[in-house]
Symmetry: C2
Subunit: 226 residues, 2 copies
């Protein structure tokens, strides 16, 4: 079997597992979001602010992926919600099997929201469905405005783009309008929210988006007999 | 054949081509450097400053990789040296075959230095030898200090780490000492140079490293009969 055939087989197997996860989430009314960005665009910082802003009784859990270290899980566990690190070894993306395995001994009945932080990589994670309801891509103001054009797949597949680190705009050559324009060339209907996890700017809009998205997920038709 | 067997075969084939490229470079006295980083760490900006600082008669060429767009080749072509874009389609890294193909109609005899800018990705490019003399990894001050621990392979394999965007240090929570310490935990002997392509800070040290590395490559024993 050649490389492309093997990749296709791996992706097909992943898709089957992803659909099983999606069906479980749907039955239980869980919203699952898959956060994807380059390394250092601020996924963990955004999740820290998100958990901090949640009511203490919220039924949330986080899975966070990295090649090595439990650093992110440690950062995120401080907010009192269940957090688990997925350490991929050398693998450049999360897949549905890893997610399923790390959910095995969690009571999903106790959850409304599952946040999955992917490995920092703008390329490979875009090919692996994790059973999520939506992908969210982060682009930071310290990167180039042309990233959506250079990495179109992930920007095309994401429901929302978070433009992060907007507190740094005065110090970097980044043109935010240009970045938004490029993102919309790839994905005309994508929502875009500007945020800074440092100053808090835009976080209320992000939390509002999240609450509305949870409502939308709950409103989905449930499978018959469940 | 399973996925791991196919990956091994692909990497073995790549290694054969990479060694052929390396032997050509050695015969011709060319220094080849492979620049790797996350998207947005400043590879292209550093190459712009590098070309700008070179004597006009320098025998340099650049290959620059991206999934899509010719943006980087356009930026780099302004300095008058030969530049060629490698557009990988969806592929997350450069490989030796792509490099060989894009060198086909260049007269390598006319070169002393070949700079290869890889696809923005801290994971996959670290597995693909391009026949280079050295890998150079860039880490920017807008990313996390723990990136060397999270992505150890590329930091272990790189001869030099460029700590980029140091002009932003006053505005970001990044602790440079901590980042250097983490890099040296993974790779104790790695050289580290702090640079800013915006203010020019550290560029003289980088250009000095590059000149010394070219001398070292020229001093290598040539193959007999060439």
């Amino acid at each position: 079997m050649n490389r492309i055939a093997v990749e296709k087989k791996v992706l097909n197997e992943n898709q089957v597992l992803a659909e099983q996860l999606r069906e479980r989430y749907r039955r239980l009314g869980i919203l699952c979001l898959n956060f994807i960005s380059a390394p250092g665009s601020g996924k963990t910082a955004l999740l820290e602010r998100t958990l901090e802003n949640m009511d203490k009784g919220s039924r949330i859990a986080v899975l966070t992926g990295d090649l090595q270290t439990e650093n992110d899980a440690k950062r995120l566990a401080r907010f009192g919600f269940p957090v688990r690190q997925i350490t991929t070894g050398g693998v450049c993306h999360l897949d549905a099997k890893m997610v399923g395995k790390h959910l095995e001994d969690w009571r999903l009945e106790d959850l409304d929201l599952l946040l999955v932080e992917n490995v920092g990589n703008l390329v490979c994670p875009s090919s692996y469905d994790l059973g999520e309801d939506a992908k969210i891509v982060l682009l930071s103001t310290t990167e180039g405005e042309d990233k959506p054009l250079k990495y179109p797949s992930i920007f095309f597949k994401s429901e929302l783009m978070l433009l992060t680190k907007i507190d740094l705009l005065p110090y970097v050559p980044f043109k935010a309008d240009r970045a938004r324009e490029n993102a919309r060339r790839v994905h005309p209907d994508m929502e875009i929210i500007d945020v800074s996890s440092t100053t808090g700017q835009g976080l209320d809009r992000w939390m509002g988006w999240l609450a509305a998205r949870q409502e939308k997920a709950k409103g989905k038709p449930q499978s018959v007999g469940v």
